[in-house]
Symmetry: C2
Subunit: 151 residues, 2 copies
DNA sequence: TATTGTTATACTCTATAACTATA
DNA sequence: TATAGTTATAGAGTATAACAATA
């Protein structure tokens, strides 16, 4: 006799799709929450986001504000804090005197890397207790989810 | 010839495990972020968390503060706001005069349900564009993730 | 005149410390 | 004396409005 904790009659029926959407959203939110709670980060979430964006490429405050969905003055504050801590550096845009170009300092790169490693530790510990099949399922799922989140 | 977007040499080797942990954490955090951004909720995240906890069972402010990892005064404020909006009701504990028992009002239950439905909509829309196999993978993954998050 | 960024000001959520009521 | 909850106060993040500098 097989025991199933959840009813997923079909992943294609309207009801099944709604259930899957709910379970998946809940699962992702709970994992995110646990990761945040378990790792005591050196920077606040909104600061971390900015560091991650600047690691991709240097950006202006306005670009960051748009990406992070906060107001320009809020981003001014956030960036000021990161600059003060030596994690981000400012540079005048040579082609447009109104703009400022922000980029990560070596210290900022190090902190970002360390923070990510610490966050991964909790997750890695949990994964170790799973079966190979379960880990393979999660590997396939993470590819799909990253694609979905990027749309 | 199979094309893989990511290198997962093995989900069991130390390196593969670390990669999987990183991908999975990233995927969950990005999905959570998108869900939050796409749905303009009637209550703030910390208020939503409290409503969800009280939907499970009535609790005291102190219990909520512990679960949500905030100070007692912060929870006092959060709860006061929810009570003022008619979403949560207070009741004196008959066995201990110091304690207060908090529970959801019908309005709170309705709002919680509506908020969850709205959050699911974005996710359900994305799932529709996936193949049946991908949805089945995500269904299995969500079971595993919910179990892992609950540990 | 439009745009980038900052400053001024106010509101919210958070915390710690001090206080009240009850056990 | 210890615990549950609140109030007092301060710090940090967010927002809108107003301003400065540049395009």
């Amino acid at each position: 006799m097989t025991v199933r904790t959840k009813q997923h009659p079909s992943v294609s029926s309207p009801t099944g799709l709604a259930h899957l959407a709910n379970d998946l959203r809940l699962a992702c939110m709970r994992i995110s929450r646990r990761v945040r709670f378990e790792s005591t980060d050196a920077v606040a979430p909104h600061q971390f986001s900015v560091l991650a964006r600047l690691a991709e490429e240097p950006r202006t405050p306005r670009e960051l504000a748009g990406i992070e969905r906060v107001s320009a003055p809020s981003m001014t504050r956030t960036v000021a804090g990161l600059v003060e801590r030596g994690l981000v550096s400012r540079q005048d845009d040579p082609t447009d005197g109104r703009q400022v170009i922000l980029s990560l300092t070596p210290a900022g790169q190090t902190l970002l890397k360390d923070t990510r490693r610490r966050r991964d530790q909790w997750m890695a510990a949990r994964l170790q207790s799973l079966s190979v099949e379960e880990r393979e399922t999660l590997a396939r799922a993470s590819e799909i989810l990253l694609r979905v989140a990027g749309e």
